[in-house]
């Protein structure tokens, strides 16, 4: 006779238990983190929101550019050695922002780090060698002999300069480049170390320095990805940025800041793309001297050619390009030629101009929270949550009695599932809990509790209509269920839209709201309802004592004595038959 939507409450409860145990196992699996990752506003640290702007006005930022920027920033932030530092993007296209979060590090350092256009300098090349490490045992004092002799050396200057100065303008002298950047990926070294070797720098080109350079493994990606700015006043031994060669470089003769402009161009009478450079006065002077000296030197790559005619463009400690001079450049303007594609030329121009970042970054929101304040905020959030939860529980117990007990248990279960989910999500998708998220969770207490209120009121309505408790529990559920799903759908919709279209703290809040809405539905379907069904079968509830919250006094009132009661019964009966 009872409608059958939930004739098996025990199964649902078991399903819920399995879910909770599963989550708990996942959350507390030995050997993994089992705490909720806290946002910077709760644990202290610095967060910088950067707004990328396209390099050329009006252009759109591509997904590639964003990813490249994030990769470069991540590299720099990782250099801080803080394990939980994060670089993420929110949004896409020109509306995207990049969020850099570094726990426990002072604002000044983080801002300096992300704002810096990477350190760029120009160094004369002393020697070029093959990328592999030369073991200490076989190393000779002259690394050039041992390394460049190897047949494997893809000497960057080998790909021949195309022209004896094909420059269109008289003032702009040309430099040609062998740009080894696209010569293919290096074979991974079997002995690749897990850690980047320290920068090889020294005051003088000593044998000890050469020895360290010889041992440097340029086939190990960690050593050629850069990210560690070098000291321009010292000698530098480093890798080409795709790991195809190793360089011994003299102290810088021009710094990146001396470059006033760089652009990719397609000269009208030229063969391919070139990169034009303009230097400021200081740079121009240095360039004139250096180019005059360097053009006299032998070609790089030949045995014993130390120093040789090439200069290296070094970005964040790795060689980006190493053109050789065709002639002295006296006007402060230079062109780098090579077999560039349009894209390569633009990339190189961007490197020269902005230091590798394909976009300009503007810090729009910098927030630093000390660990003490963060801790206070977390405590306040938890306290507010507990007080709120406590008040709601007291109210529900007081008003709904036995049913209120179900509501309280449901809230506890919902809180438990939320907690476990947060741990699991911290582990899997790197979710961090922010203050806005805590607020979202607290607000969700009310929305979760409302599910029970809607359901309980429906049960009471059904009983008022004259149904027995057992029937009311089911038929009330059928109707409450629809209302719940519709109302929760609206909440969930709000959460999803907010999450997708917002930035910063709003996102954390929206995520929490969405998560708790799902948990709300889950708990209502898998816990509250089955429990109420089981309760409804007990003698205690069916007797309808005052403690049940469903007693006649509260529902029917005194006015409903006698005839009204019988009428209700009659109506109830007739409906039973018809169903």
């Amino acid at each position: 006779m009872a409608p059958p939507p939930t004739s098996k409450p025990a199964r649902l409860l078991i399903a819920l238990a399995v879910l909770i145990i599963g989550l708990a196992t996942w959350a507390f699996w030995p050997g993994t983190e089992h705490t909720i990752k806290l946002g910077l506003d709760l644990q202290g640290g610095t967060q910088v929101i950067l707004q990328p702007k396209p390099v050329t006005e009006g252009a759109t930022i591509t997904e590639d550019q964003l990813n490249q920027t994030v990769a470069i920033l991540r590299q720099r932030v990782d250099g801080l050695g803080v394990s939980e530092a994060e670089v993420t993007t929110q949004g896409s296209g020109n509306g995207a922002v990049i969020v850099v979060s570094v726990p426990g590090v002072e604002q000044d350092r983080v801002v300096e780090l992300v704002k810096r256009t990477a350190l760029l300098d120009f160094r004369p090349v002393w020697g070029v060698y093959g990328p592999g490490p030369v073991t200490a045992a076989g190393a000779s004092p002259s690394p050039s002999a041992s390394a460049s002799g190897g047949a494997a050396s893809p000497s960057p200057s080998a790909s021949a300069a195309p022209s004896p100065s094909a420059s269109p303008s008289g003032s702009a002298s040309a430099v040609s480049t062998p740009a080894p950047a696209t010569t293919g990926s290096p074979s991974p070294s079997p002995s690749a170390s897990a850690e980047a070797a320290p920068l090889v720098q020294a005051k003088e080109n000593t044998p000890e320095f050469q020895q360290r350079l010889a041992e440097l493994d340029c086939t190990n990606p960690l050593n050629y990805t850069g990210g560690r700015p070098d000291d321009p006043a010292l000698w530098l031994g480093t890798c080409e940025r795709t790991g195809t060669a190793k360089y011994n470089l003299q102290p810088a003769f021009i710094k990146g800041t001396n470059v006033t402009n760089a652009s990719a161009q397609l000269p009208q009478n030229g063969v391919g793309w070139v990169v034009s450079l303009t230097f400021d006065g200081e740079g121009a002077k240095a360039l004139a001297t250096a180019s005059t000296n360097l053009t006299q030197l032998p070609e790089c790559g030949a045995a014993g050619a130390n120093p040789c005619n090439a200069f290296a463009i070094v970005l964040d400690g790795v060689v980006v390009s190493s053109p050789r001079f065709n002639e002295p450049i006296l006007g402060g303007q230079a062109q780098i030629e090579g077999n560039f594609t349009a894209e390569e030329a633009k990339d190189l121009a961007n490197v020269l101009k902005y230091g590798a970042l394909p976009v300009t970054l503007e810090p729009v929101d910098i927030t630093t929270v000390s660990p003490t304040v963060g801790n206070d905020q977390l405590r306040a959030g938890i306290l507010a949550g507990l007080i709120g939860l406590g008040l709601v529980m007291i109210y529900l117990l007081f008003y709904y009695r036995a049913l209120g007990f179900v509501a309280v248990l449901s809230l506890v279960i919902a809180a438990l599932i939320t907690y476990l989910s947060l741990i699991v999500l911290s582990k899997t998708i790197g979710l961090t809990l922010t203050l806005a998220g805590v607020a979202g969770a607290i607000v969700a207490i009310g929305i979760t509790a409302d599910s029970f209120i809607v359901y309980f009121e429906r049960i009471r309505d059904e009983i008022r209509e004259g149904r027995s408790l057992r029937v009311a529990v089911d038929s009330g559920w059928v109707r409450a269920r629809r209302t719940l799903l519709a109302a929760d759908f609206v909440s969930f919709l709000a959460a999803v839209v907010l999450y997708l279209l917002s930035v910063g703290s709003v996102r954390g809040f929206a995520f929490m709201l969405g998560l708790t809405t799902i948990i709300d539905v889950l708990v209502a379907f898998w816990f509250s309802h089955p429990i109420v069904v089981l309760l409804g079968r007990t003698q205690f509830m069916q007797r309808g004592s005052k403690l049940t919250g469903l007693d006649a006094d509260r529902l029917g009132g005194h006015s409903l004595a006698g005839e009204t009661q019988t009428k209700s019964k009659r109506r109830g009966a007739s409906q039973e038959v018809s169903s």
Binding site: V364, A384, I387, L389, E457, L560
Partner: protein
């Protein structure tokens, strides 16, 4: 409590009925006045935008030993502009300045620390660029519009477009009031406030959905009888969900109020407090509007439909007739007279309903036929 439970029953049975729908003019006037005040406040006083929207820097110095004036002097000397300095109950001094560069902010933080006897690292610093605010406002607005479109579609499908319109009117009502409160009180508008507003969106609609679900249930097949008008059925629905509305509002407000108390007591201004104030105001407005605005407005829309108009006149005609018969035939004739009226208007449900004059719920279909 028991009294409320009892009232719950009487509301459900229609013994106690508050005429939400019939007295809509009263509620409209009340809301109209509040809305007018809100809009005037917004126009005349404007909003007190936080630094996230106008750009600037904020320094939070915990356990500061300096005076507000000292802190202000430090900040104003560095920026050359005005600084807004406040102190919370817990002893944190908050300093807001005009936009500064990150380097400047570092200097200010250092000097504030020195002046107030606090380690620089303990100071909470936020620096926001001047264009950032318009950026987040734009995003929030985009989110709002997208959400409204989606939710209108959903409500139109789940209920009908008139309910969607009524729900959105109630929503606009809540948002304007909440924003108006911010203009009136001069509370700072921060991203957390925006979060609060957006939550009210969801919450206000959630509340309205619950009431409308009952309205729909009560008015299903209503055109096929002539006992009650759409307005009366809707009014009954509001009365029937009243206890739930009150309970839900209390339960939703309890945590929010606890945030306000804890937030104000322990932290001073901050994300939690900003959010909670917006929520508290919005939830009050939301509970009010789902009862006093959404449903009456829905009834107004519905009763313009020809079916509902004819239902209205049928019901009125029938009642008039019943009164005439009753006057001539005393109370006993009530039932038969009404039955006659029922027959004359060719409806099938009248007789079963007549045994209770107080119970005006339309007959339900057998449960098996209900959705």
């Amino acid at each position: 409590m028991s009294a409320l439970g009892n009232i719950g029953h009487r509301l459900y049975a229609g013994e106690v009925s508050i005429d939400f729908v019939g007295r809509r003019k009263t509620w409209y006037i009340v809301s109209g006045v509040i809305l007018l005040v809100a809009i005037l406040a917004l126009l005349l006083r404007g909003l007190n935008l936080g630094i996230e929207f106008k750009g600037g820097a904020e320094f939070g110095v915990p356990n500061a030993t300096c005076s507000i004036e000292q802190a202000r002097a430090v900040a104003e000397k560095q920026t050359g502009g005005q600084a807004i300095v406040t102190q919370t109950a817990s002893g944190t001094i908050n300093v807001q300045t005009e936009p500064v560069t990150p380097a400047q902010s570092s200097v200010i933080a250092g000097q504030l620390g020195a002046a107030c006897g606090v380690d620089k690292g303990e100071i909470k610093v936020q620096v926001v660029g001047p264009t950032w605010g318009s950026e987040i406002s734009k995003k929030a607005l985009q989110g709002l519009i997208a959400f409204l479109i989606l939710v209108s579609i959903f409500l139109s499908i789940y209920f009908e477009w008139r309910m969607a319109v009524a729900a959105l009117v109630a929503l606009a009502h809540d948002l304007v009031i909440t924003i108006g409160i911010y203009a009136l009180t001069g509370l700072e508008v921060t991203p957390a406030t925006v979060i609060g507003l957006l939550t009210i969106l969801g919450y206000s609609l959630y509340d309205t959905v619950v009431v409308f679900d009952k309205v729909r249930e009560n008015t299903k097949g209503i055109a096929g009888q002539s006992v009650m008008t759409y307005g009366e059925a809707a009014n009954l629905a509001v009365n029937q969900t009243l206890v739930r509305s009150i309970n839900t509002s209390i339960v939703a407000l309890l945590p929010v109020i606890s945030i306000i108390i804890v937030g104000a007591g322990l932290l001073g201004a901050g994300t939690l407090l900003d959010l909670a104030v917006a929520l508290a105001v919005g939830m009050f407005a939301g509970a009010y509007s789902s009862i006093f605005i959404a449903t009456p407005f829905l009834v107004q829309l519905k009763e313009r439909q020809p079916e509902m108009k004819s239902l209205h006149s049928r019901v009125m005609a029938r009642r008039k007739q019943a009164r005439v018969v009753a006057e001539g035939d005393d109370l006993v004739g009530d039932a038969s007279g009404a039955a006659a009226a029922g027959a004359s208007t060719a409806t099938k449900t009248v007789t079963t309903q007549l045994d209770s004059a107080t119970r005006q719920q339309p007959k339900k279909q057998p449960r098996s036929k209900r959705k």
